[in-house]
């Protein structure tokens, strides 16, 4: 069993539904994202287009963040999910430097978005996060344990995100990667990501 995600760039329209549903699910503080959408351009006018690239923690098989963590706070579950034990994290941020994908965030800012202070929502959802620790996507572990899909997958309006078991050759993620030439980001780094992209 190895959890993985496939993001279909043909379907993705860059709506930010993943980035914002993740924020809504986890109540991440300002500046902290477990999911983001990047935009760039490819080609020359008029054969040019905007490209939308949703990114998140790649849950690498050979995760440099786990290897470099001095306290063992960054670790891997048996199902391949990379996670952070915030009780062990001392906020040294070595993992952030080690992550070649820039998908780790340090929680040392405000726990509220409005200058006037925390809202009722933030009191429940944002304030609970430990301060001065590194935060990142854990494939919505609580949801997945409860039999649900990660929030970004469940919400994606274009069904561009698919979640499943990479070890199962018959799973949808495995079949999509095989049939449509799924690729990870920066395979040359040898980190063996669990997040794959399907070509646009």
């Amino acid at each position: 069993m190895k959890w993985g995600m496939v993001i279909d760039l043909k379907r993705c329209i860059g709506c930010y539904g993943c980035q914002l549903s993740c924020k809504a699910e986890h109540g991440t503080p300002p500046g902290v994202f477990f999911a983001r959408v990047l935009k760039c351009e490819e080609g020359e006018y008029p054969s040019v287009r905007q490209v939308f690239l949703p990114v998140l923690c790649n849950h690498c098989e050979d995760a440099p963040c786990v290897d470099t963590c001095p306290t063992g706070a960054s670790f891997k579950w048996a199902d391949g999910t990379v996670d952070v034990d915030h009780d062990k994290c001392v906020g040294c941020r070595t993992c952030m430097m080690a992550c070649p994908y820039g998908q780790r965030y340090y929680n040392d800012g405000d726990a509220h978005y409005f200058p006037k202070g925390t809202t009722a929502y933030e009191e429940k959802m944002v304030v609970r996060h430990q301060r001065n620790v590194v935060m990142k996507c854990n494939f919505c572990r609580d949801r997945v344990q409860a039999g649900k899909l990660p929030a970004c997958v469940a919400n994606c309006p274009t069904t561009a995100r698919i979640f499943g078991d990479l070890d199962d050759p018959l799973s949808e993620v495995s079949r999509l990667i095989k049939d449509r030439g799924g690729f990870p980001l920066h395979p040359e780094l040898g980190t063996k990501p669990s997040v794959y992209y399907l070509p646009p």
Binding site: D8, K10, R11, I13, G14, C15, Y16, G17, Q19, L20, S21, K23, A24, E25, G27, P30, G31, R36, V37, K39, E41, G43, E44, Y45, P46, V48, R49, Q50, V51, F52, Y113, F114, P115, K116, G117, T119, A120, Y121, E122, E123, K124, M125, A154, N155, C156, P157, T158, T159, A160
Partner: protein, 865 residues
């Protein structure tokens, strides 16, 4: 902060409450997760076809709007009598009783004096505010009921022509079966628009299935970014491209759905030298040429297959031709080479696109859907806000839609569809029922509409009673004259028998959403009294005398979150869903639902009887669920009656509170209604000639020339003012576009959306072609002035991009807020609308649509060494 409330929360409160989003008029179905009196998550409701359990970025961020500490909580009264952009209203907190006393006193006096002096103005964002606001205005006695801004927000061309040609508020490809779609200035399924979120899923499925999507747009974003082919063009020249494609199809390829043109359009109607129908002398019906009988006969007496589409005929002393023959001849002047010159789209591409479209239409083919054999035309030409936001509004949209009608791709399988033009109702009750039906001359009238007048038959132009002059310019919907610089000149010219004195506004931020704020501010300052229902203190509420703290969507009840289906319900096969909106949280502080406030005001002013009657009419309430006399119903009681009337006595508000919505399967004859409706649509807008003449008969003696080229029955390319600008240095056509994060509500004040937009390369920037910018020595991120010929200017940072036409300058959203009451929004983005003039010279002379493109020069605003 909203605290737990006994009605809503217990110590073990943990509920998922079905309701409806209101971050845009898509009104997707939601489940709100409330824990101990706090909503901790909003998700899509998978039981509903409206969103199918998924939400866009705006929808999932709704909580950050609801819990905004800048929300209004008490009624406010201004103490500073002076009104202006820089005037501090000097707000003073007052009680509801004081507020309603004062408003009722003003309204009583006004109603006794002249009720037409009231303008009811509302946002489109809350679809369910339509009936409360329209019925209040109607019952009060005013014809002045306006929806959001008269400028950028709405689409007079799109709605008018979608209504006339497709019996709906908008058009969309049949994503389930369409194989080839061409979008003209539209993003259906890729950002904004009607049923935006539902369409995202449907269009992704269609693209994954292999639907080819060609997107004609000056900027390659959203829809164009996902297109099989992006066709950049000069801003506002969509009609040139579409008409040249029509020419290629009609005159070069001759791929035409003749049976469709014969049976479902006015193509066979004979047209005389006066460009009018030749009519039967006895019954006055338009004549067609009966090829079998070899004589002219009324259209409704001839089998359609015998109707001539070509040829020249003599009827008595009148030489005439079928309308289609005239159309075909008319199209010949729009050559691909000409189109290239106008639009910059290479002639070879014009020909290729036309060929692809016509070939893929598979004219003559059929398909079986649910056991019913139907025409199969898997192509769709779609247009919306961008292409029709110009002087040439009507023809730009009509030209794009004409592509569909030439090949019969209208409301059949795979084709261009109106949004839910027909509903046969829930199987238990057969309600709601509406179906397109024939009107005068056999041309289609809509089964369902959103207010204003129905698009066809056009009313008769008359001396105006409406301050927007829509009863003179009867093809218009939203009007510039509510705020324009020349409103007084026009009111005087047309002897408007009163002047507006009181404005009741619900949620519209007119100062940002119409045109330049200076002009709108001057018009707002003229009202003797203004009331505004608001969530925050906006730039516009700062012109109000009294501001009333409204409830958010999570605190409100509505029985019609997505009805009429022609606006925000996903089109195509599948299900109909009728969701409600219900309160998940109580009001905070002294917030009150605007619906209840309007009802109380009708009591205080003394016209509840008329309001009840207007609601019976507007909601089509039938006994025993009609509102009686002047009986005082609560809004929830009215919702209950509406629901029971439509879905049976056992399905009232309590049932819907528990279930959230009711769904039923659409039938093929609803989705693909065209073959089942005995209606024709006009490929030749004969009725426009008398409309133009009648308007001119009123306007021209009063010194207003009506340019008849806009009232011709066949579409043309008529340039925008920006196309005529020859002033040196004015090299760009600036245009507005809808950003996926910032559309249709107060998204700029939402900190989650603002944070995302700050990280987006385009949302808050001015998009400029990289080569064009470098040619002017401008660099990425540079602060620039964008200035119009008339000296209006805005400042912003440029984003150099290869994904925009060299002459285009793209600016997103209604940004550039300055109100202290919206601190997150303040100072973000660029206010495109500040570049727009607002007067007769800048609107379509036929449907009053404000031109959204403006010729500008771009200069550095940075100190250079």
């Amino acid at each position: 902060m909203n605290l737990p409330h006994p009605e809503f929360a217990t110590t073990t409160d943990d509920a998922w409450v079905p309701s409806a989003c209101a971050l845009c008029y898509g009104s997707c179905s939601i489940l709100a997760h409330r824990v101990d009196g706090v909503v901790v998550k909003v998700e899509g409701n998978p039981d509903s076809v409206v969103g199918k359990g998924r939400l866009c970025g705006k929808g999932v961020s709704g909580l950050a709007c609801h819990y905004d500490p800048n929300r209004l909580k008490v009624p406010l009264r201004r103490t500073n009598p002076k009104k202006g952009i820089n005037e501090d209203p000097g707000w003073k907190e007052i009680s509801w009783d004081e507020a309603l006393d004062e408003i009722a006193t003003v309204l009583k006096r006004l109603r006794a004096d002249d009720p037409r002096k009231l303008l009811m103005q509302r946002t489109t964002t809350v679809t369910a505010s339509r009936i409360p606001f329209q019925t209040f205005g109607t019952a009060f006695g005013t014809p002045n009921i306006s929806t959001s801004g008269g400028g950028l927000h709405c689409g007079n061309g799109a709605h008018l022509i979608s209504g006339i040609m497709h019996a709906s508020w908008g058009i969309v490809p049949d994503f389930h079966y369409c194989n080839y779609s061409i979008y003209f200035g539209a993003s259906k399924g890729h950002a904004a628009g009607h049923a935006a979120n539902s369409n995202m899923g449907l269009s992704a499925d269609a693209r994954a299935r292999g639907m080819k999507m060609v997107v004609v747009d000056p900027m390659c974003n959203f829809a164009a970014a996902k297109a099989s082919e992006w066709v950049p063009l000069r801003v506002g020249t969509d009609a040139a491209l579409a008409l040249a494609m029509c020419n290629v199809i009609a005159n070069e390829l001759e791929i035409l759905d003749k049976p469709y043109l014969q049976a479902k359009t006015n193509s066979p109607y004979l047209i005389g030298p006066d460009k009018r129908y030749v009519r039967d002398p006895v019954n006055e019906q338009p004549l067609v040429w009966d090829l079998k009988e070899n004589k002219a006969r009324p259209y409704n007496e001839v089998p359609s297959e015998n109707m001539a589409l070509e040829g020249k005929y003599q009827v008595g002393t009148v030489s005439c031709q079928p309308a289609f023959a005239l159309l075909r001849e008319h199209l010949k002047k729009f050559t691909p080479a000409w189109a290239e010159e106008v639009s910059t789209v290479p002639a070879a591409n014009v020909r290729r696109l036309a060929t692809e479209f016509a070939t893929e239409a598979r004219v003559g083919s059929t398909i079986v859907i649910d056991g019913v054999t139907l025409p199969y035309r898997p192509v769709a030409s779609i247009a919306f806000r961008g292409s029709q936001g110009h002087m040439n509004s009507a023809y730009n949209f009509l030209a794009a839609d004409l592509l569909n009608h030439l090949v019969g791709a209208a409301d059949v399988v795979g084709s261009c569809l109106g949004f839910n033009s027909a509903s046969l109702g829930h199987p238990d009750t057969n309600r709601p029922y509406y179906f397109p039906k024939p009107g005068p001359d056999g041309l289609m009238t809509v089964g369902m509409w959103m207010g204003y007048h129905t698009p066809y038959p056009a009313g008769e132009p008359r001396m105006p009673q409406k301050m927007g002059l829509q009863d003179l310019f009867i093809m218009g919907m939203t009007s510039p004259f509510l705020d324009s610089t020349d409103q007084e000149e026009f009111w005087t010219k047309f002897e408007l028998p009163y002047r507006p004195e009181v404005l009741m506004n619900f949620g519209s931020n007119l100062l940002l959403s119409i045109a330049n704020s200076e002009t709108v501010a001057a018009s707002l300052a003229k009202y003797k009294f203004m009331v505004s229902f608001d969530l925050y203190l906006t730039e516009t509420s700062n012109f109000a005398d009294i501001v009333l703290p409204d409830c958010s969507y999570l605190q409100s009840y509505e029985s019609r979150a997505n009805f009429p289906f022609i606006l925000s319900h996903p089109a195509g096969p599948g299900e109909y869903s009728w969701p409600i909106r219900q309160a998940v949280l109580p009001p905070d502080g002294e917030q009150r639902r605007f619906t209840e406030v309007l009802l109380e005001l009708s009591d205080r002013v003394g016209f509840r009887d008329k309001l009840n009657a207007a609601m019976n009419m507007s909601m089509n309430l039938q006994a025993p669920y009609q509102l009686e006399g002047a009986q005082k119903y609560t809004h929830e009681e009215i919702c209950d009656m509406d629901l029971k009337c439509h879905f049976g006595p056992e399905r009232g508000l309590e049932w819907f509170k528990e279930h959230g919505l009711i769904s039923w399967k659409k039938r093929p004859e609803e989705v693909y209604w065209r073959p089942f409706a005995d209606v024709r649509v006009p490929i030749y807008w004969e009725f426009l000639i008398p409309v133009g003449e009648q308007i001119a008969a009123i306007a021209e003696p009063r010194g207003l020339k009506i340019p008849r080229e806009y009232y011709e029955p066949l579409p043309d390319f008529l340039p925008c003012l920006s196309h005529c600008c020859k002033k040196p240095g004015f090299d760009f056509s600036a245009f507005y576009y809808r950003d996926i994060l910032h559309t249709n509500s107060y998204t700029l004040e939402n900190p989650w959306l603002d944070e995302a937009a700050q990280l987006d390369p385009y949302s808050y920037a001015i998009a400029i072609n990289a080569d064009a910018a470098r040619g002017k020595g401008l660099k990425d991120g540079e602060l620039v002035w964008v200035e119009t010929e008339t000296g209006r200017k805005v400042k912003g940072r440029i984003k150099l991009t290869r994904a925009i036409h060299p002459e285009g300058l793209g600016i997103a959203a209604c940004a550039g807020h300055w109100a202290e009451g919206m601190p997150v929004a303040k100072g973000k983005g660029v206010m495109f609308n500040d570049l727009l003039e607002l007067d007769w010279a800048h609107v379509s002379p036929v449907n009053l649509n404000l031109d959204l493109c403006v010729r500008v020069k771009v200069t550095s605003a940075e100190q250079r060494q």
